[in-house]
């Protein structure tokens, strides 16, 4: 089909608002922050060009290094918990029982909650003295735990809180994938004598491959960028125990006004996430089967 000139113009007009928004709030800041990462700037006085000095300083910054360690630990816990947890919930919700849509909605509610509201609620649930979690645990003789207030437990408490908010999302994606699995394949397997477990392992799990790949990549990107919940619940503490990379970036840029340094952290993180995603996609190339 050939488009007339006015149709071209109309097309451009339609994408113009979105294009302007993406340029103004996406592309320009991204470019500007790259520039900023080569400068020493406190937002107030004129910035000076320092070349790679910010990146060099990052190399020998022990606090940045520990922030990376914490972020990796967080990601290593968060991704499997939310992906496998989401799968487990999806399998349970795939059943044909009464009121199933109510259960499905209930599982999805945490996803719809704002992360800030989640963090405020968990702050009260996990409060060491007055929180309901310690109260319930005391019935079975456990606790009391410090949770967010204990430097040895705080990062795990954040994993607990953020997983709660994420499992619902993964469950819905898995649920959709489960329902798109052709019923005849499952039936064929059972005729061939496969038990429920073998059917799951040999038929269902491989067919969920694309969904699993998407969720692992997506969860990893989000885990490496975790910030909101930490900002509201622990503010990187106690004793830096939850200072992950983005929190450290925030602290440098907006608490200490080292804007250039913060921008450099952002770019290191960006490259790291890009590499990890490429690695994940490369590994998956040989393992994920697309049904079509």
């Amino acid at each position: 089909m050939r488009l007339t000139r006015s149709e071209h113009a109309a097309g451009w007009l339609f994408v113009l608002p979105a294009a302007l928004l993406i340029t103004g709030f996406g592309l320009i800041p991204i470019g500007w922050s790259l520039l900023l990462s080569f400068q020493s700037s406190d937002f107030v006085s004129p910035a000076t060009w320092v070349g790679l000095a910010n990146y060099r300083a990052l190399e020998s910054d022990p606090e940045f290094r520990s922030a990376i360690g914490r972020t990796l630990l967080y990601t290593a816990l968060f991704v499997p918990i939310t992906v496998l947890g989401g799968l487990a919930v999806a399998v349970v919700l795939n059943a044909k029982v009464r009121f199933i849509s109510i259960y499905r909605t209930a599982v999805f509610i945490p996803v719809a909650c704002s992360t800030v509201a989640t963090a405020i609620i968990f702050n009260w649930l996990l409060e060491p003295t007055f929180g309901i979690v310690n109260y319930v645990l005391s019935w079975v003789g456990l606790g009391p735990y410090g949770f967010f207030q204990n430097p040895d437990q705080s990062l795990y408490s954040v994993v607990l809180m953020t997983s709660w908010g994420w499992i619902g999302f993964n469950a819905i994606v898995y649920l959709a994938a489960l329902q798109s699995i052709p019923q005849e394949l499952v039936e064929a397997a059972s005729i061939d004598g496969a038990g429920r477990f073998t059917t799951f392992r040999r038929i269902v799990w491989p067919l969920l491959g694309p969904a699993t790949l998407f969720l692992v990549v997506w969860a990893s990107i989000n885990a490496l960028q975790v910030f909101d919940e930490i900002y509201v619940s622990t503010r990187g503490g106690p004793l830096h125990s939850t200072t992950v990379v983005v929190y450290y970036l925030f602290q440098q840029a907006f608490q200490f006004f080292a804007a250039g340094y913060g921008a450099a952290i952002a770019y290191v993180l960006f490259v790291a996430i890009l590499l990890l995603t490429l690695l994940q996609l490369w590994v998956a190339r040989r393992r994920v089967h697309y049904s079509s």
């Binding site: 702050n123 409060e127 503010r235 004793l239 006004f257």
Partner: protein, 418 residues
């Protein structure tokens, strides 16, 4: 559609004509004032501005709300780089050194010396917080300080006499212990232990009480790792070991818990009093060691350069706004502390103390606010280092001497960088 455009055009023409004719008869200089006041305070501020705008025709103040004051510095800086910024903005005192670096910030050193202004009538801590390297870069907007707020009922129940102005750290520690009841989940005291400035400034008050200082007089090295500093932090450590402190994780839970009778004593300021409607509370100056010093948290009105005419107009307005009479009026409406000593001698001051009973002690306590935190752009980093030290000790993870020595090492290296 067409009709509307015509009406609009007519409006514009009328406006232009009107503006032209006003210009001939000397139009007022319009200045823009940014603030984050809400509720009662917001209304009180607006009432003052309206009164000013009606009372004269030389200056028109355009009051604009900038949202949460926590983000005001970023907003003002963005506005400055965009080239369209206010003439006056409310900014936290802790940002004074940052904003002083901006070439658009007006230097008020000469202006505050004008005879009618009586700069020295303003509380010393507020003046110091508006001064960076000897230059006055702002006018004090608000001042408060920490005092001991206590729940009278819990004191009576525990048979502990009410705090007096003579209380020492030891009396306070004993009282806190008696007022703590684990089974009732009741705590003698509360401490914000998130390692933020909230953790740090309460510690500074103790440090000054023990005769210590934050930095050396030349501001080049840490001085808090002194015997006084160790003594102050050891006091906190002892109370933590007594388990008589409720540790607030920085979410302000302590106000709710005090209001529900779970906490007997707080070190807090007048801004919290309205959160305690359910408690019959008393206010006393802080328990002391060598003295009873407190710490003030002053905020500023910073003036920006939008050309000579607007700068002069802003100054003219601020002189009126910060006069004894006007500030007392604002204090009566909002419960803010008086800013000038002379406000205490005004007849209206009795109305003020009657309306806000607890506030009287906070006013008297302003005389105990003798020192201020370093007005230095690197202060947030200093605060962070010390916050970690205090937090480590309170969590039982470090010894006071060692924690302070480590923090002092960090602060020294922070101060070596420009």
């Amino acid at each position: 559609m067409k009709r509307l455009a015509l009406v609009g055009l007519a409006g514009i023409v009328a406006a232009v004509v009107a503006a032209g004719s006003l210009g001939a008869s000397k139009s007022p200089v319009t200045i823009v004032m940014w603030h984050g006041y809400t509720d009662v305070e917001g209304k009180a501020l607006k009432a003052q501005i309206d009164q000013y705008n009606r009372s004269q025709s030389a200056v028109h103040v355009n009051l604009q709300f900038y949202g949460n004051a926590d983000y005001a510095l970023q907003k003002v800086l963005t506005a400055i780089s965009g080239g369209k910024y206010p003439d006056i903005a409310y900014l936290y005192g802790s940002w004074a050194a940052n904003i002083a670096k901006s070439p658009k910030t007006l230097d008020l050193t000469q202006r505050v010396k004008e005879p009618g202004f009586n700069f020295n009538d303003i509380w010393p801590a507020a003046r110091l917080a508006a001064t960076v390297n000897g230059k006055v870069i702002a006018l004090p907007a608000l001042i408060d300080n920490l005092a001991l707020v206590y729940n009278k009922k819990l004191f009576r129940q525990a048979g502990v006499p009410f705090p007096t102005a003579k209380w020492t750290w030891a009396t306070m520690q004993r009282a806190a212990k008696k007022l703590t009841n684990r089974s009732k989940k009741q705590f003698g005291w509360a401490y914000v232990n998130d390692g933020s400035e909230d953790t740090v400034w309460r510690y500074w008050a103790l440090l000054w009480q023990a005769g210590g200082d934050i930095l050396t007089p030349d501001g080049k090295k840490a001085a808090f790792d002194s015997p006084a500093g160790v003594k102050a932090l050891t006091h906190l450590q002892r109370m933590a070991r007594d388990k008589s402190i409720y540790f607030d994780s920085g979410n302000g839970n302590y106000t709710n818990l005090f209001n529900s009778g779970r906490i007997a004593m707080l070190y807090t300021g007048p801004w919290d009093l309205s959160s305690f409607p359910n408690v019959d509370y008393g206010v006393q100056i802080l328990p002391g060691d060598r003295n009873h010093q407190t710490i003030a948290g002053p905020d500023n009105w910073v003036l920006f350069d939008n050309g000579k005419e607007r700068a002069n107009a802003a100054w003219t307005f601020m002189k009126w706004f910060m006069s004894t009479k006007q500030h007392l009026k604002l204090a009566i409406a909002t419960g803010e502390l008086p800013m000038r000593r002379s406000e205490l001698k005004q007849p209206g001051y009795r109305t003020y103390t009657k309306r806000y009973p607890g506030v009287k002690t906070f006013v008297a306590n302003l005389l105990n606010a003798k020192k201020v935190r370093p007005v230095d752009a690197r202060y947030p980093r200093i605060s962070e280092a010390v916050g970690q030290a205090v937090q480590a000790v309170l969590l039982g993870k470090a010894d006071p001497k060692k924690a302070l020595d480590d923090a002092a090492g960090k602060v020294d290296s922070i101060l070596r960088r420009p």
